[in-house]
Symmetry: C2
Subunit: 201 residues, 2 copies
């Protein structure tokens, strides 16, 4: 791609460093900004900079926060006896989007993965055990992806929480709603039979 402007070239390269944005898409975005008023670009840049500078780690649950506490931890209407442990902020948002959960969260910031060199020390596990030791939490729900690394992480955390006596649960696994039994994988289908639920519950 031949640029006849250094300013355009730098802006295209800036966009192209973002994941999933190639140079052709980057050029389209730059030409779009050029068609708009200068103010649009200024406001766009300002929104990103103030987000990046202002965003904090929630002191309690490690969710993204604008203040010392995130909006969820600060919300007094939420059930403070329930903590849902998630791998990432994306998973937290996915659960929030269901509208089915009214407790608090704890964001691990990853899962134990010896291959990627992520041990328990890299994750927010100590702060979870400290929260549980304070005594007001009755149940810790493990909402971790059912992969080998996920299962390892769940096992490690449940062992850590064992002596506190808190109830540790895991999200239900089974055939997805609208899923076709024929196409469900063997492991999921097998578990869904073993962990069957009385009809009507």
């Amino acid at each position: 791609m031949t640029f006849s402007s250094k300013l355009i070239e730098k802006a295209v390269e800036a966009f192209a460093t973002l994941p999933g944005i190639g140079r052709k898409t980057a050029l389209r975005l730059v030409l779009h900004l050029l068609k708009q008023d200068k103010l649009v670009t200024e406001q766009f840049a300002a929104a990103l900079v103030s987000m990046r500078e202002g965003i904090r780690d929630c002191r309690i649950c490690h969710n993204l926060a604008d203040e010392e506490l995130c909006q969820i931890c600060a919300d007094q209407r939420r059930d403070r006896s329930l903590v849902c442990v998630v791998e990432s902020i994306r998973d937290l948002m996915a659960i929030e989007d269901t509208g089915q959960y009214r407790g608090l969260y704890h964001v691990l910031g990853g899962i134990i993965s010896p291959i990627e060199g992520i041990g328990p020390g890299e994750l927010n596990i100590d702060s979870l055990t400290e929260r549980v030791q304070e005594g007001s939490i009755k149940e810790v729900i493990m909402a971790i992806s059912p992969t080998i690394e996920g299962e390892t992480t769940v096992y490690y955390i449940s062992k850590k929480l064992q002596e506190s006596g808190v109830l540790v649960s895991a999200i239900a696994r089974g055939v997805a709603f609208g899923g076709d039994l024929e196409y469900a994988d063997e492991l999921t289908l097998g578990r869904s039979i073993v962990a069957r639920i009385p009809y009507g519950r």
Copy 2:
């Protein structure tokens, strides 16, 4: 999508105003920036702002320019007797990418389109006739898409340039390289037979 942070929400909405970027992609981009150093976001924002504030319209050809003249018009090694008329900066870049053209350009900024309410007055046509009247231009190459609007624009401009006596040419049309004759449209195939070229040229 439920956000627990106003800062994140604003940044996601900023990205989502860009063409082809939905809210899910926008969130992915924001989370990517959060994983990087603050400096990355600052430099990204600065590149966009200085591009938008600094970019100018080349005084001669209306290409994007960092200075009064674009890099192409300022380049003394280019053939100043040839002017290639293009609809947009994207088309100019596409021709530059071929590496086959060493003349100058003239960016119209659109084509005549009564449906979209774009008349000759909205396009950079007067500045083209002025350039031609100065006398140093020998040939004007019309590199406009062969659509009805494009043909109208080419006809209008060639009429305007008629009295100056400058040679007006149009880019060759025919079957694309690597194209299969069987799948070429009738009009293109028909014209490519009528406008056949002596073999070896």
